[in-house]
Structure formats: C-alpha cells, structure tokens
Point group: C2
Chain length 451, copies 2
Amino acid sequence: VTHMFAPGNNELSVQEGEILTVTNQNVGGGWVEARNSRGNVGLVFDNSQYSYFMNKINFINAHPIFSHRFPGFSKTPNPEVYLLTKSVAKGNDKLPIYAGEVGPVWLYPQIQLDCVVADPKKGSKMYGLKSYIEYQITPNTTNRPVNHRYKHFDWLYERLVEKFACALPIPCLPDKQVTGRFEEEFIKMRMERLQGWMSRMCRHPVISNSEVLQLFLNYRDEKEWKLGKRKAEKDEFVGVKIFSTIDPELPELDPGQVEQKYEMYSQFTRSMDNSVKELLAVGHLHWKRCTGPLQKEYRQIGKAFQNLSSVFNTSAYPTLSATGKTYEEIAELVAGQPKKDLHFLMETNNEYKGLLGCFPDTIAVHKAAIDKVKEADHLVTMNKISQQDKHIMEKNLSTMSYALQAEMNHFHSNRIYDYNRLMQFYLEEQVKFYETIAEKLKKALGQYTTM
Amino acid sequence: VTHMFAPGNNELSVQEGEILTVTNQNVGGGWVEARNSRGNVGLVFDNSQYSYFMNKINFINAHPIFSHRFPGFSKTPNPEVYLLTKSVAKGNDKLPIYAGEVGPVWLYPQIQLDCVVADPKKGSKMYGLKSYIEYQITPNTTNRPVNHRYKHFDWLYERLVEKFACALPIPCLPDKQVTGRFEEEFIKMRMERLQGWMSRMCRHPVISNSEVLQLFLNYRDEKEWKLGKRKAEKDEFVGVKIFSTIDPELPELDPGQVEQKYEMYSQFTRSMDNSVKELLAVGHLHWKRCTGPLQKEYRQIGKAFQNLSSVFNTSAYPTLSATGKTYEEIAELVAGQPKKDLHFLMETNNEYKGLLGCFPDTIAVHKAAIDKVKEADHLVTMNKISQQDKHIMEKNLSTMSYALQAEMNHFHSNRIYDYNRLMQFYLEEQVKFYETIAEKLKKALGQYTTM
C-alpha cells in the first residue's frame, strides 16, 4: 500500500474506476486539481503514465502528515505503452548495458562523480520575511561550488523520480522538518544526510550522467538554472518510457528467464528490507538503553563507590573514590558511544531502508510487464495483437529485465562496499570503546596495593 | 524498632511497666513462658538482664514471619548491673585490651584461627522421615573435621549473641530457607555463606578464643558435644556482664572522651550502613539489567547481524555472520559476568550489611551507660549512690569505651582488608571482561578485508 499526499493536504480521495475531470493542470509539483463524480474538488497526482490510464487509478485515502514523503506510485505504472514500442533512443540518450563479471552492468564512467555538501548558510528573501538555509555543493569534476536550498534538492528529487523511478530506486530526501529548522544540530544532521543522498546519486552510473543532475551540479548562473529547469520539466523520456532508452548489448532473454530473475530479486529485496528494519529497531533500542538506563546505572555505581569511600575517609581510602570516578567516566563513555558508532550504523541502514522501500514499486512495474507478456499468447489468438507485436513485447521485456539486473548488480556492489566499510568502522569503534574501558579500570585497579 | 519472634509465633505482647509471671522456664532458645496481668499466657524472650529489669520490658508486637531473624534486643539491655560491679574476672576469663598502633586493640592470637566449611552431605533421621544437610568443618588448628547441621550453627549463633552481643556485633546466619532446601544451587550458596560467617567468627580475637566456638570446632564425640552444650547454655558471663571480664591495660577515660568516641562510631556505622545499602541496591539493579534486558539486547543485535548476513548469503558474506555470532557470545558474557564479579561484591556487602545491622544495638547499650553515668552526679546529691559508686561507674564506662574502641579498630582493620581484596578482585574481573569483549570484537573485525 502506497500513500500519496498533496500539498496543503487538500488531496482528493478517489476509487478505482472513478472518472475525474481535470480543473487545473498548473498546480505544479506533479499535482493537478480535479473534480470527482460527486462534485468534490481536490488535488490528485499527475504523471504522464497516469493520465493515460486515468480510468484505472486507485488512490489510497491519504492521512494528513507534515513530513515530506516519497510520492511514489499509487498504482503501478502500466508498462504496456513501452512494451509495444519499436523504436529505441539513439545517441546521447542511449543507456547501454554490458556483460560484466557479475552479470549485466550499466556503463560506469571512467571517473566516479561525487560532490561535497558543505557550508550551510542562512539566507533571506522578501526583506527578511522568509529565511532559508543554502548549502554549498562542490562536484569533483569542476571543483566549482554551486548553491542550493532544500527545495532545489526536492525539485531534483522529483525530476529523478519522474524520469527514473520505474527502473531505478530513487531514495527519499531526508525529512523536511518544519519546526526548529535552524537549530545547529538539525542543520548539521540534514547536511550529513543530503551529502549521503547526493553521493548515492552521483555514484549511480545512469543518474550521474543525467542532464538534470549535471544541471544541478554545474549551472553557471541563475539564467542557466531557470532554462535548465524548464527543459527538465518538459522531458518526455519519463516513467516507463525510460526503458525505451535502454540498450542492452546482450542476447535476448526468454520470459521464463525474466520471471526467474524477478522472483529472485523480489525475494531478496523483501528479505533485506526486513533485516535492515530489524537492525534499525534493535539499534534504536540499544541507543536508548545506552543513553538512558545504562548511563544512569554506571553513574549510580560510581556514586555508590564514592559515597562508601567518603565514609571510609576517616581512615583515608582515596583508591575507592578513584574507582567510583572511573565508573562515572564509564557512564559518560557508554552514553556517548552511540553517537560514535551506532550513529553511522543507523544512518547507513536508514539509507538502505529508503532504497529498499523503492524496490517494491520498481519491481511491480516489472511484474506487470511479465503479466502482460504472459497474456500475449492469448491476445494473439484473439487477434488483438500480431505475432510480431508479441515478439516486440518479449524483446522489450528482456530489456526491462536487463535494466533490473544491471540495477541489482549496481545495488549489490554498493551494498558490499557500504556494509563492509560500515561494519569495519563499527567494530573498530567498538573495540576502541571496550579497550578504553578496560584501560580505565586497569588504572583504577593499579591504585590498590596488594596486602 | 526491633522485632522479636517467639517459636511458633505464640509470643506475648507486653507493655512497659507490665508485671509478668513466669509459668515455664524450660522453653529453651532464650524464651520463657509467662502470664500477663490480663491472664494471657505466651512466650517472652528471657535474658539474665531482662529478668532483672522485668518491670521495664517493652516488647514490640511481632508479625508472623518464617525466615530466621536475629532475636537481638527488643529493648536496650540495661548496663546498670554492670556499671556498679566492682569485681573483674580473673585468669582465663579475662579479655585484655592493649594500646595498638591504631588505638586500643583486642589481644590477637599468634596464629589466626580459621576453618573450611565443605562437603555438604544429606543425612536422615527417624527412618528417613526427616532429612537434613550436614556440613564438614575443618579448623586450621587441629586439621580434624567435625560435622554440623544448620541447626547447630544456629545454636552456636544464639550462644554468641547471648554472650557477646552487648559488646561485639554478631552477624546473622544466612537465611533459613524452607522450600527447596536440597537444591544444589541453594546448598552451595548456603555453604559459601556459612563459610563466610564461620571465617568472620574465627578471625575475631575474642570470639575465636571463646569456649563455645572451641567446642563447636573441636568436639571429639557426641558426649563431649552434649556436655559442652549444657555448660555453654549455663554460662553466667552473658549480656552486659561480658564487660566485667574486660580488662583494659590503659589509662581510664573521662566520660567526655567516652561520649566523643561514641558519637564518632555512631555516625560512622550509620553512614557506612547507608553506603553499603546503596551499593547493594545498585548492584542488584545492575545484576538484573545484565542478565535481563542487556543479554536480550546483545542477542538481538547478534541475531539482526546474522539475519542480514543470511540475506546477503546469495553473494556470500560470512564475515557479517561471524560478527553476529560474536555479539551473541557477548550477550552470554554480559549475562554471565555478574556471577563472576558482582556476586562477590554483593556477598561481601551483604556480610557488612549484617555486621552493621548489629551496631545500633551494641551502641545503644553504650549510650545507655553514658546516660547512666551522666545521672550519677544527681544521684550522688540525692544520696542514692556514693561518690565511690560514681567513680566505679566512670571506671566501668571507660572499660566499655575501650571495648567499643577495640571492636571498632578490629572492624576497621577487617574492613580495610576485605574491601581492598574485594575491589581488587572486582576490578580484575571487570578488566578481564572488557578485554575479552574487545578481543572478540577484534577477531570479528579481522575477518573483514579492506576494500
């Protein structure tokens, strides 16, 4: 079940099969104003694919929430429009897929794109009435910084979803928090997360090469930015049409092979999603335990030793007092540790939770295509499509499968790299943590004399 | 408020000033049967001191409980009978006090007495109808083992309380548990605690030298044991009379000096009692946390890593699984640690809680004596006592103070030794614990390859 939320929460609840009349196409942000059969007017999400299958839309009743959510797909975009497409994009628009060591892979650039998100600055508009935070983004290609506000990231995100989300998981941006937007801690955290999001986009061989990301990172002045924005918003190769730009230089797969791959990836992403959520849940619990009851308890142990030592002070017992202070220090180490190691573990797993949350939608498009091709034989007998059409559909399904395989192989290589780095970092910090405690206790022990 | 409990809970509630008629002196265990003015018959605690001041007894209503409790004093034994005593015990009965480095000290034996409590064996009586546990006690002096049941320890405890509790803290025996008496864990724990109790009694210079302890450790046959028991139960130098056997070879203290010492010890024992209880409370909490939520949490962390690793297994990721197993091992280390170190900390502090619980009674006898001597001037003017009597009272108060000082110095030297040993042991185990965890994590870390 996917939820969708219109700006201002004046979204329209619609049922499958309902007929809507568009009353205003210029709402923006992917939304249009529409009226339903009962005369209620509200916003519904617009997508070139949706307008085509408007009679089948099946929006879910939205709950009013304030955080930014991935608009996603309220219903699987229908891949039929692509499956019957004969022409393939040419030249710069072509997205080739090669046979790599691990299987089908995207074309990776010679130098991996990356960028640094830094230097958040408070800016204002309308004579100081509206204030915002502007971040400086410096790509490794030009080494020339550009400035962007959160809403620009959001615009980029929406373009990437429109263009690629049928084939690639486009993870959500970090939450748009309304209150306390200018607190230092919050700005630092958001910047860290925008950095993570941008790096992931830059590391993606398809996304990194896209005109919209290049515009975001390289625009030279306001004019270039405005023109580029307008162009990106008019891009026709969005939704399932993205598949018509994909060109696998590999032998065609039969539908059986395609379904097998689909089953495997579907199973894998679901399992990993569960495991990541489990790890996040226990990590959250552990964080709360370390900064709450455990810190309190070690402080109490420290205090108890010190109180006993102060009773003993009549006959001088400074060693016990030092032991007490050591346990108070351990309390602070225990409470401070999650920020040092668990934080990174949580952030990385949160990123993966975001990525994995996109796969069900991406995979659903794929499944819909498999089902369409399964129907093809029947449609041929019914004379609804020609034998030729069926072959085109199978070839296009093979292309979709290669796109999914290339994307999964990209995901796997990132995953192996990310989790390897994460676990090494986490364990290194954990070793340091326990060694520091052991060292402190050893020092406390050293103050006692053997009797 | 001190509670007293008669066997079978048929104790008699009595008020201050009430006159009781003793109806049966042979109830045993320090109790006599008596009738009050309203004709109610029940048990009251008998003590040579109490019968003397029977018109002042002030028993507290007892609540029915089943565990063994220190009978103690329901009212402070009146030291008057001793304060006016002129004669001092001679020869073997004499308890000398010397000027030691730390102040007045008991006469310590050349070789410290100790014993080993071991080899608990199940025995039975009445054709197997009654079963019990017999422990083997081997003193270091004879190296010849004797056998005793818990009830014999209890008899010894009662004799020691009768004889010494006005001057020395006699800690309670470990709880007499009724259910599950023969469970292995319980027997082991009780033996450990009986060992602690016996060692403390053996280490005491006055108690170790007493006829009753010597009988307990050295009796050769049933006949010697029975005869010795009868003799001990008839001992006249019990209660406050113990002070008349004390012979400090030190200059007499004036009542002002006595009161100053009293204030100091009173304050110290109360403070230490509070600190020990605080440490026990936080230790108990920490124990529960380690064997409860913390173990569970580390297990969950371990499981979460392993589950994620099993998802990754399609592309082989045994290192993460090993990390998960490491956290499961850490869970067991965390849960098992309290038994290794906190146990000893809790046991030692529980012993001290027991000892400190005796001091209020011991100190109250002392305070009553101070108050009596303060009254002496008034009594002299009223011609109730002679100037000579007053001097005897002051000299005897000085003797009581030396006894308290010698006992406190003994307590302090034990305390320093015990807590030094305890803290060293505790910290050594804690260092090992954290080092073991760090070592395990290092090993888990070593399985990852740098990318």
